[in-house]
Amino acid sequence: MKKKKDISILGGRVIDPANGIDQLTDLHITGGKILCLGEAPNDFQPDYTIDAKDHIVCPGLIDLCANLREPGAEHKATIASETLAAASGGITTLCCTPDTYPVIDSPAVVGQIRHKARKAGFCRLLPQGALTQAMDGERLSEMAALKAAGCITVTNTYTPLANTLVQRRAMEYASTFDLLTVIRPEDQHLSNHGCVHEGKVADRMGLPGIPEAAETVAVARDLALAETTGAVIHFHALSSASAARTMAWAKREGRQVSADVAIHQLHLTELDIEGFDANFHVRPPLRNDSDRDGLREAVANNVIQAICSDHQPHEADAKSSPFPDTEPGISGLETLLPLTLKLVEQGVLDMSSAIARLTCGPADILGLPLGRLTPKYAADICIFNPHKRWQVASDKLLSAGKNSPFIGWEMPGRVTHTLLKGRLVYSEKG
């Protein structure tokens, strides 16, 4: 095996929110791990250096939710294509969802996915296991085996568990093995085949709506179950201000619960679906501006500790139908960081908090020693030019999914280097 390179990243603005660091300094890497900040030891001889002047150097980003489509839907995307897209967006750790074909409900599928990710080599891929077998919502998956095979959490993804008893048992069983239960809160009876937020815009456009209550009912139910069972749970992809307020309450009560939000929910609203553009078809749906503002506030207050891409790449055909007949989802890996930096520009977050929501925030939810520049930690690093502005264009996206509603938007911040365990996996110059 080749010796891992020793690297010095020089003169960047190093932001490491977990350690309270925001200063112009050097960062040194040895053996794939962080060596130190500031002055290197006298005997340290880097194999190469990276000039990070006018750039921000931060921990590699951690994305809690991305669907990579492999195995089973390789016509949409593959592990290789999407992990490369992730690396180009500064993401070094990616949690993939179990709604593949076959479902991630057996160690064999976990093994296959991890093998493909290692072969591609762009990203640390952490598979999430299914909460129930084949995601049928009825029989528990073999969670102990899934954990042993490398699953980081268990989740229902897009298939809400209709049966509350199964939900309770799944949480209890997962907590037996200290597995985090990740829940996409949705009461499917209330969502009733809707495709947009139930509100003024849906009323006018005659599109079937998903009420806010579809989310708040599920959040309330699962908070009650978590209290009963003592399980640790995480709510994924909140979409309503009301759910965010419930989370704030739960935190004040000292509940063991966390939440994330998809970045597009912090920028878009139901008004964007006017014109029936299927690239805005997403689940949970884009809600109104007070929901967006409530979610922004929750992110600013750290009630929501993580921002994710909720990446859902699609082939063009999946979006080429009348709006309700299209598949929901946004290709979001490459716009996660720039859209978060946009929140800094807009005064929603300071730079350190913005980076925290993409690094140590998600790492702490997963309970992993990642997302910080602490010596001896894996040297997962993202270096970006915060002053560089660029325009999103579908032919420039590395993801196989070109289904972005942000095509044509001007974005702040461009990733120039991504390092995974001290290895350069992406550089802007190629």
């Binding site: 599109l207 139908s321 309700p324 007949d325």
Partner: protein, 329 residues
């Protein structure tokens, strides 16, 4: 919404390119459609029921959802304009073979169709086709999901204008399943655009959109209050499958609360007209005595439907012809 719908449906000279929704069109265009229709009402009464306005043009009826009445009136309208008409009942052919909507569209374009008349179960389908069709091909929405049914709304406006003369000062009540009704959405837009003084919707809350007031209507849950002193009562069709279950408990209770009876009709203005887009569920939405009574204009709506559709088809084809002449120089 209004702006994007305006730019999609009208060219820079404010001529009709497509007819997808009432939204964004404005009073002038709607009035032009009504005035043009007036000229076509006589055609049906002639011995030779044809005018040569669309001779040599091919109009395709693209119906992804079953319909007899609407499809027939569009077909008659196109034929009276001397166009060639293709009737495609897609629910029974391509869609069941897995062909996508876009494939169907492109196949028909290869046959040099000049206009698509589209009915589809999904809201936004007509917009989708208009956005993907070749330039120069016109699209008319014959009903998409819960979104819009603009020609039905215009024939209703035509019927109202014929009976009431003008829109200003009118009070109109729309009764029934507003939530699932593309007809109601288009009617509300047209009535407000043409300047009636009040649009009311009358329904139980399960059959109303979440924020019905935002559509520009006054909301009533009591039928007697809702129809009191109105000049026009529009009854909506209630789909059979919605009569039992979680939206309504029974036909019986619905009729007892919201059915239009002679007694309730007497609460409206003495010269009020009664309309219904058809087909009627007698004894569910309205009493037979009202449906067949002196104030009912339901059958006139059907015959006016042909004139309205002739007007819209000829206006869109007319825009195509003018634009081709302009390009030719």
């Amino acid at each position: 919404m209004s702006h994007s719908n305006r730019t999609l449906q009208l060219d820079e000279e404010q001529r009709l390119l497509h007819f997808l929704t009432i939204d964004g069109l404005g009073k002038e265009i709607l009035t032009e459609i009504l005035d043009t229709s007036e000229g076509f009402t006589g055609v049906s009464e002639r011995t030779i029921k044809k005018v040569p306005l669309c001779r040599g043009k091919v109009v395709a009826n693209l119906f992804f959802e079953n319909s007899t009445r609407t499809r027939t009136t569009f077909e008659l309208a196109a034929k009276r304009l001397s166009a060639d008409v293709l009737n495609l009942n897609i629910s029974a052919s391509a869609a069941s073979k897995g062909e996508t909507l876009l494939d169907t569209l492109h196949n028909l374009e290869a046959m040099h169709v000049d206009m698509f008349i589209v009915r589809h179960a999904s809201s936004g389908a007509a917009h989708f086709i208009a956005q993907h069709a070749d330039r120069g091909v016109g699209v008319i929405n014959a009903g998409d999901g819960r979104h819009a049914h603009p020609t039905q709304a215009m024939l209703d406006m035509f019927t109202i204008r014929r009976h009431k003369g003008e829109f200003v000062g009118l009070r109109v009540a729309i009764v029934g399943d507003i939530l699932h009704s593309r007809v109601a959405r288009s009617q509300i837009l047209a009535l407000n655009s043409l300047g009636v003084s009040e649009v009311r919707v009358v329904a139980p809350r399960t059959l109303l959109p979440s924020d019905a007031r935002s559509l520009g209507v006054h909301v009533y849950h009591d039928m007697e209050e809702g129809v009191r002193d109105v000049d026009v009562i529009i009854m909506l069709r209630l789909q059979k499958e919605r009569m039992q279950g979680t939206l309504l408990p029974s036909e019986h209770e619905y009729f007892s609360l919201f059915g239009l009876t002679e007694r309730r009709l007497a609460l409206a203005d003495s010269e009020a007209i009664v309309m219904h887009p058809g087909p009627i569920n007698r004894g569910v939405e309205m009493d037979s005595k009202v449906a067949d009574g002196a104030q009912s204009v339901i059958l006139q709506q059907v015959s006016y439907g042909i004139a309205i559709r002739m007007a819209v088809i000829s206006m869109v084809i007319g825009t195509q012809n003018l634009r081709m002449q302009e390009v030719a120089g």
